[in-house]
């Protein structure tokens, strides 16, 4: 696995032309905008792509057709919002072995407007065992994990609120973020009650957005338009789909497995990171992910958000794009923390640039910590 480390670089990233509330842009158009923009960012052409990776409503075949290419390698792994993070690892393996030469990972989701979307999903489990009781939608599940965490470790509503406050401070520095006005812990605690333990400001946005990432082997990456950002490590894991089967709840086995694999491949330890991107569908997610990844003892993940540590100018910046909580969250958010980590490693982030950043962690969940992907990115090899 270690021979894969640094063998591939991310050479292009971008969002769709716009993100946010886009009733006149279809799901397909979000994909195409993101891929065209990311390929241009890399200084490559659409016709250079021969590996297509996507999850969600479009299969890789549909995306290839829409782009007008005939890929020789495709991957449609679909285990929730972290699928795109997992696909970085899959693309590294495929590129390293010559199964493709230029890989694109694409996300498009009309999550807010539902434009050009037909929704159909397998409800054999949730339909029988959850929906008759009023479950449906992530906020009615993730709170179960959160409330158990509060019971076991004494974490509080104020602890989760501090995560939302820190993330909003970053969003204030990102012109693309949907919500940029500063908020306080009191604002979070006084926002409308939705699903205890969550108020409105503990829960991510619902937006329309696309995003894409282009990868190629390290030797070719040097000829692309931007500074290469190397994939030093990648790992993935899955545990469950029904949150009742999350054995060690609130600890996530999938997250732990993915992190251990990524750190081992990269040859890094927790102290090597100076920038962290975590999938924040809910404010309680990042602290719990830090615990499952081994950055903190159980119950201590919230301390990373104390006293400005995670904030702009803090000692360990977390979710510097403003996160799913304040920047954008189309549904399967996982492409966006990758894009942000690459921009940070390139030094493109303007007011929110983390000075001297060398090693970024990207970790995301699929479902309710059901699946997880972790990657380690650096502009240094």
């Amino acid at each position: 696995m270690k021979d894969l480390s640094n063998s591939v670089a991310i050479v292009g990233v971008d969002e769709s032309d716009e993100i946010g509330k886009l009733p006149d842009v279809s799901l397909t158009s979000l994909h195409l905008q993101a891929v065209h923009n990311a390929v241009a960012d890399a200084g490559l052409k659409i016709s250079d792509i021969d590996g297509v990776f996507t999850a969600g409503q479009h299969s890789p075949a549909m995306l290839g057709e829409a782009l007008g290419i005939t890929p020789r390698y495709v991957d449609g792994t679909s285990v929730g919002g972290c699928s795109f993070i997992m696909m970085v690892g899959h693309a590294v393996a495929a590129l390293h072995h010559g199964l493709c030469d230029v890989a694109v990972i694409s996300h498009g989701e009309s999550g807010r407007s539902g434009t050009g979307v037909t929704r159909a999903r397998d409800t054999s489990l949730s339909g029988q065992y959850e929906m008759p009781y009023g479950f449906g939608g992530a906020p009615t599940y993730f709170g179960m994990i959160t409330n158990r965490h509060m019971h076991e470790y004494g974490t509080t509503l104020e602890d989760w609120a501090r995560v939302a406050v820190s993330t909003r401070a970053w969003a204030g520095l990102n012109p693309k973020a949907m919500f940029r006005d500063p908020i306080t812990v009191e604002d979070v605690l006084n926002s409308p009650k939705l699903f205890y333990p969550f108020n409105l400001l503990n829960i991510c946005l619902v937006t329309d957005a696309g995003g894409a990432v282009v990868l190629t082997r390290a030797e070719r990456a040097k000829d692309c338009a931007k500074k290469p950002v190397y994939v030093r490590g990648a790992g993935e894991g899955t545990e469950h789909t029904l949150v009742t089967n999350m054995t060690d709840m609130p600890m996530s086995k999938a997250t732990a497995i993915s992190g251990n694999k990524a750190f081992e491949m990269a040859g890094v330890t927790h102290g090597d990171f100076d920038h962290i991107m975590l999938y924040d569908a809910f404010s309680s997610g990042p602290p719990m992910m830090l615990e499952s990844l081994g950055f903190a003892e159980p119950g201590e993940g919230v301390r990373f958000f104390d006293e400005g540590r995670s904030d702009p100018g803090g000692s360990l910046p977390i979710n510097t794009n403003g996160g799913g909580l304040s920047y954008t969250h189309s549904g399967m958010y996982g492409i966006f923390p990758i894009i942000e980590a690459v921009r940070q490693q390139r030094g493109e982030c303007g007011d929110r640039q983390v000075p001297g950043v060398k090693c970024s962690l990207v970790n995301g969940m699929g479902g309710m910590l059901s699946a997880a992907g972790t990657i380690v990115l650096s502009h240094e090899t």
């Binding site: 008759p132 479950f135 179960m144 699903f195 205890y196 949150v243």
Partner: protein, 140 residues
């Protein structure tokens, strides 16, 4: 005329879960149990998730357990769920080991009243001639 349904009915009902749904109609909470390792599990499936044996049977649960975790819903996300909020979304850990989702009823929907690990017991609620569901209340 049929009375208005307040809850979405289980759909689709899978063949491997038939003894579970049949049991509920008779006021029994049936769990799949492995005949080799002896562990009960949930949801119903044809192989044991613990030892991976295909030798699986059924056992009647006591109906007692604890509230592993909960949420208070102040609004409904599914229009087919018509019970007025607030109501309690419950994750129950049964005495036999498996966890399942349900509602906690006959209790005030207040996070200061409801506590994780409180003792709960099953209550059966008929929806239609076909469907009865297991709800839970604080143990007497």
């Amino acid at each position: 005329m049929e009375p208005e349904l307040l809850r979405p009915l289980p759909k689709p009902m899978t063949p491997e879960a038939k003894p579970y749904w049949d049991g509920l109609r008779e006021g029994k909470l049936m769990l799949p149990e492995c005949n080799d390792c002896g562990k009960a599990f949930f949801y119903p499936r044809i192989a044991c998730p613990n030892c991976h044996s295909r030798n699986v049977g059924w056992v009647q649960a006591s109906g007692k357990g604890k509230l592993y975790s909960f949420q208070i819903a102040y609004r409904a996300l599914n229009p087919a769920f018509k019970i007025p909020p607030p109501y309690v979304l419950a994750m129950v850990e049964l005495e036999e080991g498996p966890r399942l989702m349900s509602n906690l009823i006959n209790v005030e929907a207040d996070p200061d009243v409801i506590k994780c690990d409180m003792a709960v017991e099953v209550v059966f609620e008929k929806q239609t001639d076909e469907v009865t569901i297991p709800l839970f209340q604080p143990a007497s």
